[in-house]
């Protein structure tokens, strides 16, 4: 399902909507890079979760917002299951990136 916030953001951004999508894609790719690092430091994951929470909230992607919230909590808590939280966040992130890529490709 397309994130709920896209229609609202497209109306708000008008002609800058394509630029926003490109920036968003780049921001998400940067966080994907952090999540994909084997044994990434908790602080790096916490920062990635921080960015992803804000982005997911903005575009209203509920699954990514919830996963990033869990990753943020796991990264802030000693002994938190970071690997599982990072994997869950990575999956939700891939879903959002998939939407962006489909929009970029245009209608089939």
């Amino acid at each position: 399902m397309i994130p709920a916030g896209f229609d609202r953001l497209r109306a708000v951004l008008g002609g800058q909507w394509p630029d926003f999508l490109a920036c968003l894609r780049a921001d998400l790719a940067a966080q994907q890079g952090v999540l994909a690092q084997p044994g990434a430091a908790a602080e790096d994951l916490r920062r990635a979760a921080h960015v992803l929470k804000a982005l997911a909230g903005t575009v209203e992607h509920a699954a990514l917002a919830a996963a990033a919230q869990r990753l943020h909590a796991a990264a802030a808590r000693p002994g938190g299951d970071l690997a599982a939280a990072a994997a869950e966040t990575g999956l939700a992130l891939r879903d959002l990136v998939g939407h962006l890529d489909r929009i970029a490709r245009g209608p089939a």
Binding site: R8, V12, F20, D27, A56, T58, A62
Partner: protein, 463 residues
């Protein structure tokens, strides 16, 4: 030919590029000149070069801590207005920032309207940007309209302005409660005195007492100098307490004592000081209901609720939407250096039929959008934002005098009683529908964190 000096910009420091673009776009559409920076170092350089009217600062930056950067800016220009942006769950950082001199804070994800409102409020609060776009936005909505409800409001303001009686303004968001308070002040014998507005809902609770009554240097961690507080700053003028029903009980007690004794005692002070202040307060809630719930002291309510003024929603101000829109169109067009020929008959008809859930504020934003996005001419439906042109928020065809948003069915309604979970679920769905699926806006209406709604949605059975 001489060019007018450029207005000081709003400096936006945000390292996430998509959010930077979004916030900049929203603020630009609201009429602000915006400079942007992606890092602390870049932000400080732009700050020194442009002397911004306001800094919107993300507290998490890649090269340095946002709080440190804020302190550097305030050291260089102590009067600088700074609004910080923090992530949900980092409210303690926002409180730290407020104690260190920030004027306001926003929590990510940032609601676009909240951003423009907060920036507009800070810029219209005096200083280098007074009279800028925020001020024009206020002037544009300033009691234009000849509808009967507004005539009654104006008559009430005129009759109460010269007395010392406390005024209690109620009305939905965006109906102009602060303008009403300002009108009371400006028509009073205190007009030459200060008008101090304080939003009780926008200030962290543990800072509210010091914001209202002030504090002495060293009275708590972060109190680096004496601060007079809003009540003392309003001496000889008017103190406007917006969203007064959000005030915590402990402070309600102090406000009551202040009203009874006309004295203020800053946090850490050993003796009280007499002040001469008229109180005007406002809320978008039902104050009597807040009293019934026990959220608002009954004795304080009766002391404040001396002269009630209800600001009517725009949907009940027959024909005013068109009058306001025409006036705002000319005002905003003059600011943008453009020429518009007014509203087409189709747009006038549409504006009369819309219910304007965001009231005058929403209408002004629509007009601003039209002026910014179009070169000029006659305003036609094609120039309106898409959702509005397609008839969003149209009046229901029923003759209901007050088309309030649909509420969840009560458990006592026809058919089987609803469970608490069902009522909650329906309330969430109804709020989401009213806000076009926007979770942050629905959350604000329901007075919960957006994460609560996300969690509730995620917990629903799939399929």
């Amino acid at each position: 030919m001489t060019r007018a000096p450029a207005r000081p910009p709003v400096l936006l420091i945000e390292d996430t590029s998509s959010l930077r673009l979004l916030y900049r776009s929203v603020l630009t559409a609201a009429g602000h000149r915006v400079e942007v920076a992606a890092t602390g170092a870049e932000g400080l350089a732009v700050f020194r070069r442009t002397a911004p009217a306001l800094v919107v600062l993300d507290l998490v930056l890649p090269d340095r801590d946002g709080l440190d950067l804020m302190e550097d800016m305030l050291r260089e220009r102590p009067g600088t207005r700074i609004m910080v942006i923090t992530a949900h769950g980092s409210i303690d950082r926002a409180v730290q920032a407020m104690r260190a001199g920030a004027r306001d804070f926003l929590v990510k994800p940032v609601d676009e309207r909240r951003l423009t409102d907060a920036v507009g409020n800070l810029l219209s609060g005096g200083g280098p940007a007074a009279g800028g776009r925020g001020g024009a936005q206020a002037r544009a909505g300033q009691f234009i309209g000849s509808s009967a409800p507004m005539q009654r409001v104006q008559a009430k303001i005129a009759s109460v302005a010269t007395s010392m009686a406390t005024v209690f303004i109620t009305g939905e968001s965006g109906t102009g409660k602060e303008l009403c308070a300002l009108a009371v002040h400006q028509q009073s014998t205190r007009a030459s005195g200060p008008f101090i507005a304080l939003n009780c809902g926008a200030i962290p609770q543990d800072l509210l007492e010091s914001e209202v009554f002030g504090h002495m240097k060293g009275s708590f961690t972060g109190a680096i100098s004496d601060k007079p507080g809003a009540a003392a700053a309003a001496d000889g003028g008017t103190l406007f307490l917006d969203e007064v029903c959000e005030m915590v009980p402990a402070l309600q007690t102090k406000l009551l004592r202040f009203l009874q004794t006309s004295t203020v005692q800053p946090v850490g002070a050993t003796r009280p000081r007499k002040v001469n202040v008229r109180i005007v307060c406002a809320t978008n809630r039902d104050p009597a209901e807040a009293v019934r719930r026990g959220a608002f002291r009954e004795d304080l309510f009766y002391r404040l609720y001396v002269v009630p003024i209800h600001m009517p929603p725009l949907r009940e101000r027959e024909g005013d939407a068109v009058e306001i829109a025409e006036a705002a169109l000319q005002l905003f067009a003059a600011e943008e250096g453009r020429s518009f020929d007014g509203l087409s008959p189709e747009v006038r008809a549409l504006f009369r039929r819309l219910t304007w859930p965001g009231n005058v504020r929403q209408l002004l934003n629509v007009v601003r959008n039209v002026v910014v996005m179009n070169p000029g001419g006659l305003v036609t439906p094609a120039m309106l934002p898409d959702d509005l042109a397609q008839g969003g928020s149209l009046r229901a065809p029923s003759p209901s005098p007050s088309p309030s948003p649909p509420a969840p069915e009560p458990a006592t309604g026809p058919g089987a009683p609803l469970t608490l979970a069902e009522i909650e679920s329906r309330a969430i769905d109804a709020a989401l529908a009213r806000h076009g699926g926007s979770v942050p806006r629905a959350a604000r209406e329901l007075d919960v964190a957006p994460s609560t709604i996300y969690r509730k949605l995620a917990q629903r059975p799939s399929g």
